[in-house]
Symmetry: C2
Subunit: 646 residues, 2 copies
């Protein structure tokens, strides 16, 4: 299905999916093309000539009729539909020489290994529907309705418990459902927590509804709530949706939400917001498939410790105060409806257990998904975000920790930082001679700011091109129209408003400042110091690692070489890196589909030893040593050493 | 502590408790004294002479100064305070002869054997308080609050489960309770349903509250709700209270309440009424002891199947309709607060399981209390009421049934019938020659009507005196001022208004009619036919019985000889009869105190086979044969045959 794009004069090939944008393809191939407006089709800089094959392009006013005829297209407005050969026009410098081109090594982590990571699983969900034809009662056999049902279930070798009465509706409705359905009903059974525990009836429906058995896996992120609707009869994903967590209105990160929660009725307010968001996700996935939210028979959720607390209405106060104790780490099975989630009143919601205040259910779910707790390989599991969570170990032991990286990776604390939404600069190349930028924005809209992956790209490119030094300072001797001293010290203009906002549209210059670079260094320094501290705590080093698994949405957009270049990831064999995606959601999905895996989740949390870094002197030392690009100890980054300018 | 009363000229002794009323003592001894006003001190007929010893008496205007001096007292206004000799004045007949006196054999069943029946039990309740001193969290040990608590509990070798989240308040409050109490708390643990099941935390209280561990046992009767507050640290009853079930306003018996429940919102209304009643009982027992309802840690309740349904808000519709299936027979453990019982929000209420629509938790509780399911002795367990419940069996097997006796035993369907409340005629003797009455009312108030035990007394006395025949008809040849034809056929005047309501007080004549007698015959006939049918179903007869255990409030006031005389109880060796009292309450009490007994309750219901009598031809035959006093087959009643007039 992939198509090959051959770039000239660089002579670089790249395989891309059909439909991939041509500017993105160039960026992914490490090929530089002038691009000032993020891909919006405004600056008209990214003209390329299609020499073989065809691309699908908008008609763009930036190109003359003549250029069109000669086969020129704007790379940013073209998508690859077949194998194609693309020539990038030569740039003639003021001295008349043609600009030399030097394609970069880029590396995104392949998802090919996902199956290998997550291992085998069965379609054998923790919830089961069973169709029963009951014999109607008679004077000779007039056992109570519930006992009649339990007896019929038991015939199928299931030991069953009577339902919990804090949800009395089931029993209240039972006699009427049985009679209206003429004693042919489908019962929804929840499997016991352990093999030997009896099942529990959670609902009884008239007729045979066994064909419709759905489950919802939800990742409750601080920023985004993602849901996946699964047909539990075959384990297939049938719909997905995600929404920004509506709690954002009350704080960007967990700390600000905890602070907010401490006033008045705000805890309830925060709970309502995340429930509202989950309900929107449910509505979205159900709408897609024309099913009713009440057809969902189980909800498996994972979130960080604070999100889990807020969802259940538990006060997160002491998560924030030393010594950082959550209310609980195993969360009780909850009726979704009891917290106002719009599901069938009997449907249960289960949250993945946490380990500590800052290593939450999202991490356990991720580790559970990739079966780290069953593998002999020494694995470093990393989730990069405002809080970076790190797990080190294998099937015999695991240590975990969280380090407060600050919000830089999510665009926070960055002058023109923003979340990875439309218009965020997410990719960046620099012309190593002219220092001209190639910027690519999310959705190819006019650049509005810089998101986390963009920031990593920018800083690694500036470093590699020698525009900034290893302390993150602009080299003072470079005179360039894009580099100047602004109110926050030296800065580089990524995008001038004039290039992106033609006509009457308002716009602003987007810059990266030394303060921004400093913030990124603190963020990546905290992560790296975290890896070092964990490894040291078990007497190991990076060379002992068999695998590094990146989890989280952030990992999706990360360029491995660049992340290593700035010192965010260790400089080890690239083949050891795996990318797991939204591991939290993946774990929830797998648990929802396979109850045997589901039961294993508690093993994961019980294997883990949590380490607090906040007052750990080793961590502080490693952190100080990491406030450098990539690190003060360059022997830790041999491949970066080689490619950095003297 | 007992005192002896020696009656002259009858030469009958009786041992009574100090403080017993003298008229009641005479009645219990089978000694006849004229008494027309029920014991209200109004008719002045019950004059007796105290010949030795003293009684404590009111000064009564019915006695002259002279009579006082001679040692006369009104028996009804005197209480026994020491051994005493009492002479009943001779009555001279119109023919000048002194009336002959013939004391009756009466027999109430002694409660001496209660301990023997209920067997051993331990103070080892299903709920436990445990005081814990937790080590406060530190950065080195910052496990979550709940896990810290669970760990501390586990040190005491208890496996513990996380609480159910449908009661989230516990977890919500936990961090604050722990910190405010400086990590010294008392946790209330609910033992697992089975030995191997983990305990469950139901509450956490600051400080050491282990000294205050209370439980409430409740019998939820159709008429009366009785509660007993128990100190679970030593098993001692510390307060008791009972209230009329406020559902009475919507129907006297279960059938009328089921009918009422089927309209509009009435099911909820009935639930609210019984909950209100339970709350009044709780308030009463707590007020007595100056404890708060929230100090009660467990509520164990027993009620018939309809009462259990109504308490939990389950629709009893199909209890009333053939083939009579209740919603369930095992009731789920319920948070008392979830049904608005004013208890600590975490306190659980457990209802005894039922067997069928008409053999309910009250019966299981009674059978459980007397350990029928553990005894080799063949036992007939009887609870007499509007519905008579009968259980037959031993530790190997049990059959049970219910027969609709009608409301006669509760005063229903009787012209002047009433419940056993103040002013109800509860005891009756007839002068065998003059047919003059000796009536004793509840509280010795002016007679307002006849309650169940009064009815049995009246009919057995009329039968034995030859006033009525074995078909329950007044003998037409007897001419007596008290016997005449009223609107309901022949009747006997038990009390004339003029004798009981002197001065300006309003009153009415209280009579017993042939229709009343007929109703009683149907009621006792149904019970007897029930015993016969059960015995026959297992190929046995009355002679096989080792024990007959009477349960229920009704049994409290029953005179064994009279009950046998009318054919309500079988004519077998009197020593085989035992009286258990409010067995339903007793079973709940024992379960509340001893969790090992508590676990055994399910064994009782599982051992029982229910038999429906409603369309059973054997039952109908036995019933027809029982519509006679005491029975058409007099060989079944040898001792009654002997004493009845030719």
């Amino acid at each position: 299905m992939g198509k090959t794009v051959h770039f000239l004069p660089d002579k670089v090939n790249i395989n891309v999916e059909e439909g991939e944008n041509l500017l993105n393809s160039a960026a992914a191939a490490g090929v530089y093309i002038h691009a000032y407006c993020g891909g919006d089709g405004v600056c008209g800089k990214c003209k390329v000539k299609i020499e073989k094959g065809r691309v699908s392009s908008d008609k763009n006013i930036q190109l003359t009729e003549d250029e069109h005829k000669k086969g020129y297209q704007l790379a940013c407005r073209s998508t690859v539909i077949e194998d194609v050969e693309v020539r990038i026009p030569e740039t003639v410098k003021t001295d008349g020489k043609v600009l030399k081109r030097k394609p970069k090594t880029t590396r995104s982590i392949s998802a090919r290994s996902l199956k290998e990571l997550i291992g085998d699983w069965q379609v054998d969900p923790p919830v089961e529907k069973r169709f029963l034809k009951l014999s109607p009662p008679s004077l000779e056999d007039n056992i109570p309705d519930l006992q009649r049902l339990l007896k019929a279930i038991k015939k199928g070798c299931h030991e069953c418990e009577i339902p919990n009465f804090d949800h009395p509706q089931l029993l209240m409705d039972l006699p009427f459902i049985l009679r209206e359905a003429d004693w042919e009903v489908t019962t929804i059974l929840l499997r016991g927590k352990k093999e030997e525990e009896p099942d529990r009836i959670i609902a009884v429906e008239p007729g045979n509804t066994t064909e419709h058995l759905y489950g919802l896996a939800v990742d409750i992120g601080t920023t985004t709530v993602c849901g996946v609707l699964i047909n539990l009869n075959n384990g297939k994903i049938i719909a997905e949706a995600s929404r920004y967590n509506a709690q954002i209105a009350f704080g960007e990160d967990v700390i600000s939400r905890i602070i907010f929660s401490q006033r008045g009725n705000n805890l309830k307010k925060l709970q309502k917001k995340v429930v509202d968001t989950i309900n929107e996700v449910i509505e979205a996935v159900c709408k897609d498939m024309l099913i009713s939210p009440s057809d969902i028979s189980y909800i498996m959720a994972a979130g960080n410790t604070t999100m889990s607390h807020l969802l259940l209405g538990l006060d997160p106060k002491y998560i924030r105060e030393a010594p950082y104790t959550p209310v609980c780490s195993q969360f009780p099975l909850t009726r979704a409806a009891a917290i106002n989630i719009s599901a069938h009143p009997s449907v249960r919601l289960l949250l993945y257990p946490s380990v500590s205040s800052y290593v939450g259910g999202d991490i356990i779910s991720g580790v559970h998904a990739c079966q780290m707790h069953k593998s002999p390989e020494l694995t470093l599991f990393i989730d990069i975000g405002t809080n970076g969570e790190i797990v080190l170990g294998n099937k015999e032991w695991m240590v975990c920790t969280a380090c407060s990286a600050g919000p830089a990776f999510e665009g926070g604390g960055i002058k023109h930082g923003m979340r990875a939404s439309s218009g965020a600069i997410e990719n960046f190349h620099i012309q190593p001679e002219t220092f001209d930028p190639m910027i690519i924005t999310v959705d190819h809209n006019a650049p509005l700011g810089i998101c986390g992956s963009g920031l990593i790209s920018i800083i690694s490119e500036l470093l590699e091109a020698g525009v900034i030094d290893q302390q993150g300072k602009f080299k003072r001797h470079i005179k360039h129209e894009r580099i100047s001293k602004g109110e926050d010290g030296y800065e580089y203009v990524l995008s001038w408003a004039k290039d992106s906002f033609k006509n009457s549209k308002k716009g602003k210059d987007i810059v990266i400042t030394e303060v921004d670079i400093d913030n990124l260094m603190r963020a990546k320094g905290a992560m790296y110091a975290g890896y070092m501290t964990l490894l040291e705590s078990v007497g190991m080093s990076f060379s002992d690692l068999d695998r590094v698994i990146l989890a989280g949405n952030f990992g999706n957009y990360i360029d491995l070489e660049r992340a290593i270049c700035i010192g965010l990831l260790p400089d080890i064999d690239r083949d050891k890196f795996y990318y797991l995606g939204n591991a939290s959601l993946l774990g929830a999905q797998l648990s929802l589909t396979d109850h045997k895996r589901f039961r294993g989740r508690l093993l994961v949390s019980s294997l883990m030893t949590n380490m607090e870094l906040s007052e750990n002197p080793q961590f502080m030392n490693h952190y100080m040593a990491s406030l450098f690009l990539p690190h003060t100890d360059m022997s830790l980054f041999p491949t970066v050493s080689e490619k950095l300018p003297e």
